[in-house]
């Protein structure tokens, strides 16, 4: 019976920064969300200061100096590369790898308890050594238990970062489950917790004892699976690489509100090109594009949430067509309203070149490889060096993401390589 290893990077963003800037070691570090909004990653030292997940930066900034707190903007180029290195390395331990998020993965593993433990320790050591970031590993018969084992490995130093569930004495496991709230279980959050509490289910041990069928009747099949998984029956299958992903979304809050259709037009141009690049990268074409914009939820007056769904004339990844489709939103933009975000979503995705369109419907831009050309230039001269119309302005229009405290993109940009001192 194969088991499942859950591997995730400790404080991923902060750890990626520390890998290239060892002076951050031992100091309170937080990484901020898009537009330097709020803390999304906190080093243990930052947690110890009482900084909460999602605390807004403007509230922390005045005390940062006194605390010695270091805040960094999200360096997605760096995190993306570090993530892909971690995943590639983990892939060497199992052909059965599911990348669950940027910093965590499930792996199918086989072996005796001693071998599994050794494999977990080897993964941990290899990621630390090769890539330079710390991970913890939980190994168990099911995904839900593997997640739990990982959390345990993180919180209990005795495990040294690797917990093999079945190797832990049953009495200790039961004591843990009796101590932890159901909230600690993968997939169970606020509202569900309250409903479970009403039924007298408070700890994970309570939930393990519950009748899966009764749980299904009260909740749904998803919750039943969770119970079965906690009991040791695998119910959540390993997912293969999601090639048939069905949508891509490009959306972001603006650093400052946009109040004109001309401004939104610019946004659409940029996202149209980003969508094109992403589709091309995955060898996909889209059939439908949805463009949307919205005012801030914190601004109850002047609300406006225009949205338009545009069927594309043929499956395409052409930046010109995608951008034009996005412009269908413009007539619905109310001038003067303060839009806080906008975006596009492409759906009904299919592999490009699956069915050759009749030449009559072949797209003139695709024929001239505009998408590939834009991509080549971008790869060579950096993001924002070329673009269609409103989208290709270096330095960025003023609504682009605010990243005032950005570290160098150490591993993806030749001009920003880490410096080593020869002194």
């Amino acid at each position: 019976m194969p088991q499942i290893a859950h591997v995730d990077v400790n404080c991923f963003y902060a750890s990626a920064e520390r890998a290239f800037n060892p002076s951050l070691e031992g100091k309170p570090v937080i990484v901020l969300s898009n537009n330097d909004g709020c803390a999304v990653t906190r080093s243990p030292e930052a947690k110890a200061l009482g900084i909460g997940m999602g605390d807004p930066w403007f509230k922390l900034a005045p005390r940062a100096k006194e605390w010695g707190l270091i805040a960094l903007s999200s360096n997605y180029e760096l995190y993306g590369d570090i993530s892909s290195r971690v995943m590639e390395l983990l892939g060497r331990y199992s052909a059965w790898l599911e990348v669950y998020s940027i910093d965590e993965a499930f792996l199918g593993v086989k072996g005796s308890p001693a071998e599994l433990l050794a494999a977990g320790r080897s993964m941990k050591a290899a990621v630390r050594r090769n890539v330079g970031v710390p991970v913890c590993v939980g190994i168990a018969p099911t995904k839900t238990l593997a997640k739990l084992a990982n959390k345990w490995a993180k919180n209990n130093k005795a495990f040294a970062g690797v917990c093999h569930w079945d190797s832990v004495p049953a009495s200790e496991r039961e004591a843990l489950l009796g101590r932890l709230s159901v909230e600690e279980v993968w997939g169970i959050a606020g509202r569900l917790t309250r409903r479970l509490n009403v039924m007298g289910i408070f700890t994970i041990a309570d939930l393990v004892r519950a009748d899966p069928v009764a749980i299904r009747d009260k909740f749904n099949v998803v919750m039943m699976r969770t119970v079965l998984e906690l009991q040791g029956t695998p119910c959540i299958p390993m997912e293969e690489e999601r090639i048939g992903r069905d949508q891509l979304i490009f959306s972001r809050s603006f650093a400052k509100p946009i109040t004109t259709a001309a401004g939104i037009r610019q946004v659409m141009s940029v996202y149209g090109q980003q969508a094109s690049a992403r589709l091309a990268k995955h060898g996909l074409q889209a059939k439908v594009l949805t463009a949307f914009a919205g005012t801030s939820h914190f601004n109850p007056k002047d609300t406006s949430y225009p949205s338009v769904c545009v069927p594309l004339p043929m499956p395409t990844a052409d930046p010109v067509i995608l951008t034009k489709a996005g412009h269908a939103l413009l007539p619905r933009i109310v001038e003067g309203v303060r839009y806080a975000r906008a975006g596009i979503m492409v759906t009904d995705l299919r592999p490009s070149g699956n069915q050759a369109p009749l030449s009559l419907f072949e797209n003139p831009h695709e024929e001239r490889h505009i998408g590939t050309l834009l991509e080549d230039v971008t790869r060579r001269y950096g993001r924002g060096s070329i673009g269609l119309g409103h989208g290709g302005i270096r330095g960025g229009p003023d609504w682009t993401m605010k990243r005032d405290m950005l570290s160098p993109r150490y591993t993806t940009h030749w001009d920003e390589l880490p410096l080593v001192k020869a002194a």
Binding site: F20, N21, P22, S23, L24, E25, G80, D81, S83, S84, R85, V86, M87, E88, L89, G91, V99, S101, I102, R129, N130, V131, G132, E241, R242, R245, H282, R379, R380, Y410, T411, T412, H413, W414, D415, E416, L417, P418, L419, V420, K421, A422, A423
Partner: protein, 143 residues
């Protein structure tokens, strides 16, 4: 946040390292006699990078390694997966900074050696007291 779907080789910035050795194109009309022999250009990534997960490129700042042919502004290919040995050129963490030195492991202790008489060596009681970030495998020296 986007999900990274698959592994990716070291990115664009680094793969500038590719050299053209393709046959000279011939005039239109005749097939090139060389075309059957062309298997692609030399890919420096393939030759210089043994393990993409553990290899990083860093840039040197300073003159202390001149004696080893490593100059200010040179790029180094660093492989973190290698076991540093006596004589390795290593990137070590010193006072929170990445520093390049020659590693000397002697019976009496460990020395981080500069390759320039103007810079002092640094003595460390044991390898365990030292944080080695990676081992340099190539220097991309600007000539």
């Amino acid at each position: 946040m986007s999900v990274i779907v698959g592994p990716r080789v070291i990115d664009a910035g680094v793969s500038l390292l590719s050299v053209l050795v393709s046959p000279v194109p011939v005039a239109a009309g005749f097939p090139s006699p060389a075309q059957d022999y062309f298997d692609g250009r030399i890919d420096l990534n393939a030759h210089l990078i043994k393990d993409v997960t553990s290899t990083y490129v860093v840039r040197v700042s300073g003159e202390s390694m001149e004696g080893a042919g490593i100059s200010d502004g040179d790029e180094l290919i660093v492989d973190r997966s290698l076991e540093p040995r006596d004589g390795s050129v290593v990137v070590a963490v010193l006072d929170g900074e990445l520093t390049i030195k020659r590693l000397r492991i002697t019976p009496t202790g460990v020395i981080l050696q500069a390759e320039n008489p103007a810079y002092p060596d640094i003595e460390v009681p044991a390898l365990a007291n030292l944080s080695i970030w990676g081992t340099a495998v190539r220097c991309l020296h600007h000539v």
